[in-house]
Symmetry: C2
Subunit: 409 residues, 2 copies
């Protein structure tokens, strides 16, 4: 394999935030431009939902501390590891030894790459849920692993994610070494049920599969939904890493902070990899971890309530359109929206939407090749602007609905 | 190969900054503790040589800018790419198109990992200079490449690095795909001569070898030394990436800022890899690039002069001891110090020095397995403390000098 072949599969032109790099193509533009404030649903708006309080003040303290904060061990500064370990213990209800079970990383993305890079070698079979976070499949490609797709029938289930546990066991039986998934799921926003998590943990233990679980959105759970931490179960796999960070719910993405906790031998390997990858999570930035799980009373409840409002307002708009559907988010701020057959391809429609309606969304194909009628939105936005943008998107969509579809409706 | 085998070779216990993670061993402690302020020569002291002016103010501006600064394209924010490209063009005297030839990274270490990860596939032969930066060899191991060591006879040359150009050509002829080296060299601090750089560029072009050159220290060149940018030569290899950043000379390591510039197809691959590795150089931190190559008049000259002073004061101490030598640094702030045969191993002596003299240095073996009588110091320290620390280190060394050596002296 050449380096060109290796990177051929790692396309990013359609990845969130990269839209401006797309080459210009002639688009089938229909009707008038739909005016309104631009909304970029590819990521959250940290101006509409500002960073957790005191984050900047903590950064300033870090800079004032000087050398001791600029240069930390690769895992992170001891004092901060201790603070974070204590918070994660309380949150996930699992022992976290700051000397053994924890590493601070360059964002949750950094934690994901480290965990995978420390688990997968060439030709290893890796089970990946579809749909799931776009980087998961690309990291497997980069590491030379063989991806085994595990279907998640999220539309057909009322409780949990709808992951196909039979397919998962069959994959494990056929020699999968590593299973990586996000909970809450990105892009659907569904939360795995207790039964699903219990079964995944048992299967991984039975078949000696390493589990990497991305819990990035696990603090932002909507009322009535039960969240289950896999790491806190009685029977867990021998090799387990849980990934989390303050980039989303806490709007601290600009600082690139992430954490991974779990099996000590895996954390050791991750530290070795971090030493040659980015050395450490930026030294001064590490001080900002102090704001995490340390927000003022009521801050998280308010954050969840405001996002629930936005979610419901968007779902209300979508419900007026035939052939459009989305599973109500249970955790996090994503909606994975299914649209009907159009005269143009999904990717064309998404480019048209940017041009005609100033709306940016992420194509479903980033989460699995079969999602040709889906796109993802991050609704962590200004509510009024977001609702207006979805209205424009739906009006625009109607201009492209396939004739046979139009007749049906 | 298992994941355990893969990580076996990536030891970091002796890496700079990791010393506290070493397991306790019984040491042969001789004589009284040598008292004095602790000095950690494993990295520079950013309290003694503070960050470039305005860096924190620029960070603050970045935070105030909000979402547009928190979420940038993977390569970096357009405006900042443009600024940095302009500065690098002027510095290296080579065209740098901000849209094609440049990526901002999570520190220079991040740039190095991206460049190597975008160039090396399993079983590729990679030429690495010995001695050279410790991560170079480890990245080759991680990527499954085969390392070909190129000797650098730095002690036997007055001009340039003393790289063995015949060994380099032989390695290229035998199928080396990638050549990675640092200039100024880390750990020796020597600068490659014009003839060496010209020859390396020509050979790489002739044998179609990808070149990755780490110029991290190329701004801090001492008077009388000529620095040659490989990228600015007339005949350069088709695939060339130059790496640089403000972590050292500018003391901005706490922000984790790096940059890589060069061949557009390589930058594209590096962007794809960054998308799944750390997403981007921390958004707010990118604003701090504004301080780079933008220091007040005289700042760099003063910086170089102060480091030259420290270098010379340390060399003066070393010159009093038989069997101790170091090539005077030509660029950067490293000295690679050779010591005589001792009663204890190099690694034992280094641990003894931490305990008995409060002095931390990096063993030569981090830069090549044959450097069993060398250690590296970063002399970007408070001058008086650094000189006193070296005095203590030498006094301590005498207590362990082998008897036959003692008789000679």
């Amino acid at each position: 394999m050449t380096i060109e072949d290796k990177f051929e599969k790692l396309g990013i032109d359609n990845a969130p935030g990269q839209e401006n790099l797309q080459s210009s193509v002639v688009l089938d533009l229909r009707g008038e431009v739909l005016k309104g404030p631009a909304v970029d649903f590819s990521h959250g708006d940290v101006d509409a939902h500002p960073p957790a309080p005191d984050s900047f003040e903590l950064f300033l303290e870090g800079v004032k501390e000087g050398g001791g904060q600029a240069y930390t061990p690769y895992r992170g500064k001891k004092k901060i590891l201790e603070q974070v370990a204590q918070k994660l213990e309380a949150f996930a209800n699992v022992p976290v030894d700051p000397d053994k079970n924890l590493i601070l990383t360059a964002g949750t993305q950094g934690a994901l790459f480290l965990a995978m890079g420390s688990s997968v070698v060439m030709s290893d079979k890796v089970a990946i849920v579809e749909p799931d976070y776009f980087a998961n499949r690309k990291i497997v490609e980069f590491l030379g692993g063989e991806m085994i797709a595990i279907p998640m029938n999220y539309e057909d289930t009322d409780i949990g994610s709808g992951i196909d546990l039979k397919a998962l066991e069959a994959a494990f039986r056929e020699g999968v070494k590593v299973f990586l998934f996000s909970n809450p799921n990105n892009p659907v926003g569904c939360v795995y049920s207790y039964d699903e998590i219990y079964k995944i943990a048992s299967l991984a233990r039975k078949y000696n599969v390493t589990v990497i679980i991305d819990e990035l959105y696990s603090r932002q759970i909507y009322p009535g939904v039960v969240y289950t931490h896999l790491c806190a179960q009685k029977h867990i796999p021998d090799n387990l890493i849980t990934i989390i960070g303050p980039s989303k719910t806490e709007s601290l993405s600009g600082y690139r902070l992430g954490a991974a906790f779990g099996t000590d031998v895996m954390i050791k390997r991750m530290e070795k990899l971090q030493a040659i990858m980015t050395l450490r999570c930026s030294g001064y930035n590490q001080a900002v971890f102090g704001a995490w799980f340390n927000e003022p009373e009521g801050w998280l409840i308010d954050r969840v309530r405001r996002h629930q409002d936005i979610r419901d307002a968007i779902l209300k708009v979508l419900s007026r359109y035939d052939g459009v559907s989305a599973k109500p988010t249970e955790g996090g701020s994503y909606l994975f929206i299914t649209i009907p057959e159009l005269d143009v391809s999904l990717h064309q429609f998404i480019r048209i939407a940017r041009e005609m309606a100033q709306v940016t969304v992420t194509p479903g194909t980033e989460f699995g090749p079969q999602y040709l009628h889906q796109f993802r939105i991050n609704f962590s936005q200004d509510k009024d602007k977001a609702v207006a943008a979805i209205e424009r998107l739906m009006i625009l969509m109607e201009r492209y609905r396939k004739l046979s579809e139009k007749q049906k409706s």
